[in-house]
């Protein structure tokens, strides 16, 4: 459903995304892991059609996001990591506006809005301006906005940031049900337990490249890591911080 072909992105001479290719099929939840600055967000923003790639292409179904954007984006819901929402719209107005951007309106949309607000416990806030929402409530609203037009694929950057444990659990359930019904989710996350528990496959990115890809089990086999946790695997693959240096930094004020 989502296919990246030799995707690359350059900022001047800096290579943010370096020739990556992957396919995420229907009914699959795919995790993007990697240290800060690895190129995960840039990749997701290219998939969402916000950034133009320097090379390669992104297909949603059979449609190129950058050559045939209007059709490709109809099937996509995007949840960014630092969302800005129109502060002077109410929650319900914002969702109605987003549905309108996807060409949807009418009673069906109103029912969907009510349903999503109910699920995310925002019903009592539906007519409040977004500027009065807490960070977590905004995050819930953004997630609702990515679901309001019933997309076939969801691209999500750090979905759990700012959510309370109950909402985080709800989101996990929503994603699992979404893929169980044939949807596709591509998400980046730093929460390795989430990736390990939820993702069918993961890719580990570093310096703009995919350095490892597959199921967590396959990655363990690839690196001959034995029965280590995903965190340990991640640190091995990305050359994680040395514990001694960390201890020195933390003990620096003693």
């Amino acid at each position: 459903m989502i296919r990246l072909e030799n995707l690359s992105k350059l900022y001047g001479s800096f290579v943010a995304v370096d020739d990556i290719s992957l396919t995420v099929g229907r009914g699959e939840l795919y995790g993007f892991l990697g240290p800060n600055g690895a190129g995960k967000t840039t990749t997701l923003r290219i998939i969402a059609g916000i950034l133009r790639p320097s090379g390669g292409r992104v297909l949603i179904g059979e449609d190129d996001v950058h050559r045939n954007p209007l059709v490709a984006k109809q099937r996509l819901g995007f949840i960014p990591d630092r969302p800005f929402v129109y502060e002077k719209l109410t929650g319900a107005e914002f969702l109605r506006f987003v549905a309108g951007l996807y060409g949807q309106e009418g009673d069906g949309v109103e029912r969907r809005i009510a349903e999503l607000l109910e699920v995310f416990e925002l019903t009592s806030w539906r007519d409040e301006l977004v500027e009065a929402y807490s960070h977590g409530m905004r995050q819930k609203l953004i997630i609702s906005s990515a679901l309001v037009h019933r997309p076939a694929c969801i691209v999500v950057d750090e979905p759990m940031v700012g959510l309370d444990p109950k909402a985080a659990r709800l989101l996990k359930d929503i994603f699992r049900q979404f893929v169980a019904r044939g949807g596709t989710v591509l998400m980046s996350t730093h929460t390795l337990e989430v990736a390990e528990a939820m993702c069918d496959r993961v890719a580990i990115m570093q310096h703009g490249k995919i350095v490892a890809e597959g199921t967590v089990e396959a990655l363990r086999r690839q690196t001959a890591a034995g029965n280590v946790s995903l965190e340990e695997l991640f640190l091995r693959l990305t050359g994680g911080p040395r514990a001694r240096e960390l201890a020195e930094v933390l003990g620096g004020n003693e």
């Binding site: 916000i50 059709v71 984006k73 995007f78 960014p80 719209l89 319900a92 996807y102 949807q104 301006l129």
Partner: protein, 562 residues
Amino acid sequence: MNQPSLGHVLQPKWRTALQRLREERARGPGRPIALALVGAVFWLAAYGVLYRILRYFRGVEELGPLLAGKLLGLVLLSFVSILVLSNVVTALSSFFLARDLDLLVSAPVDWLRLYLAKLGETLLHSSWMVALTAVPILTAYGVIYHGGWLFGPYAVLTVFPLLVLPAVLGTAITLVLVNIFPARRTRDLLSIIALGAAGGVVLLLRLVRPERLARPEGFRNLLDFITVLRTPTSPYLPSEWATQAIMGHLTGSLDPLPLALLWTTAAAFVTLGALLHRELFATGYTKAQEGAERFVRGEFWRRTLGLVLRPLPVAKREFVLKDIKLFFRDTTQWSQLILLAVLVVVYLFNIKALPLHRGEDVGFFYVTLVSFLNLGLAGFVLASIAARFIFPAVSLEGRHMWLLRSSPLDLRSLLWSKYWVGTLPLLVLALVLTTATNVLLEVRPFMMIVGLVTICALTLAIAALALGFGALYPQFETENAAQIPTSFGGLVFMMATITLLGAVIVALWQAVYQYVRAVYDRRVVVVGPDMIFWFVVAAAICAAATVLPLWVGLRRMERFEF
């Protein structure tokens, strides 16, 4: 414990300013040269006007210095009034809403350093424009009254405490207000009060017809004139002390008291302000963290404008509705309409005050000329409004581009919505202004039609230029819409619009001149091929100025990356 120095607390600010300068330098000389050019033109114009007025005053026996002092007093008084208002608004941001406050308040920085750092920031942000405006004015005084080389430093010494006083006063007012109302409510309240007051001052200044001061013969007798001269002075106003200090130096009767009063009062104000800050800041800052507006009457727009826009595709309709809701729910945006209303009243008042209709033939010629040139002036007014309301439209979407670009919204639809949301109200205003001025001028039907058609074409072009240049020079990081038009892009837009107005007026004059000539020679006015040719040229210029900027803007928006 060692406290960080005031310089250290302010370090991020001046380092940011330095970095901006470096970035400017890296962009090449075009921008600074253009800014310097516009600044020089403004300074020279202000200097020229003041120079002529003061030279005239200097020629008036005995009353001359009185008039010059009076004028300076009025100028400084209006400066102080503007500064108090602007400091109140700025202090709200710098003391209570700025993003660096969490860091500063949570760090072990003592209250006095925090106060002085933020007072300095407030003073700089709200006073730089007034200070720059004062330069050509005071230079004109120095030149006319032979102030000598000492006058420059002396003027700085006089003006500086005059800037400090409103800064402290404005900050103190804000501090008290925030302790009474939540900060965000206070901001809304202040923007209305500030703009209302500014509008009131402009209106008052115009309606009292200050030009009468320069024409004593217009008064019934000398007594009337002197009464007018004496009206608004008060020995307790700092602007009056500054006037006395400056005029004393210029007329050779130097008195150190006004200057001493200015400096000691400024020092006392800073001390009292700091004490007030110590008492009230902590509770005010806590209150500032709460209180966003909540309840909203969302159904109103859907049931009114939503129905009118029903024939539009849903994406366009929702986009237009969204833009209109955002405008009317943001007090800092809609409150600018107050100034706009004042501008229109002053504009019409100026036209009404013109001394026309004295002789039949001369009257006709001047009426036609004024009505024609009025198109340029009205165009300029429309350009200023477009700069404020349409130019920032693309920039203001910057933070939400993640949503717009990841949705299947066609950028053409976005641009279309932005264009018409901005253009339609502008068009209404343009037609009202032109019709009203032409009715006041009693122009003939030919000029009325030419005027109305031209202003419509100009409005479409000006709105397109504003949107196009707004997309070409976006300011995605600026949160305050009012700051966007003062950017380099805003300047380029105004220059482009002035060029457009010049070109259209030159082209149209060829046609209008034939009409004036015919009426003057008492011939029948024939709309011949020559006249039609020039009308077509003007129409072509307007059409090009409408289509090209929108096309360029669209191309630019397609290349935006976030």
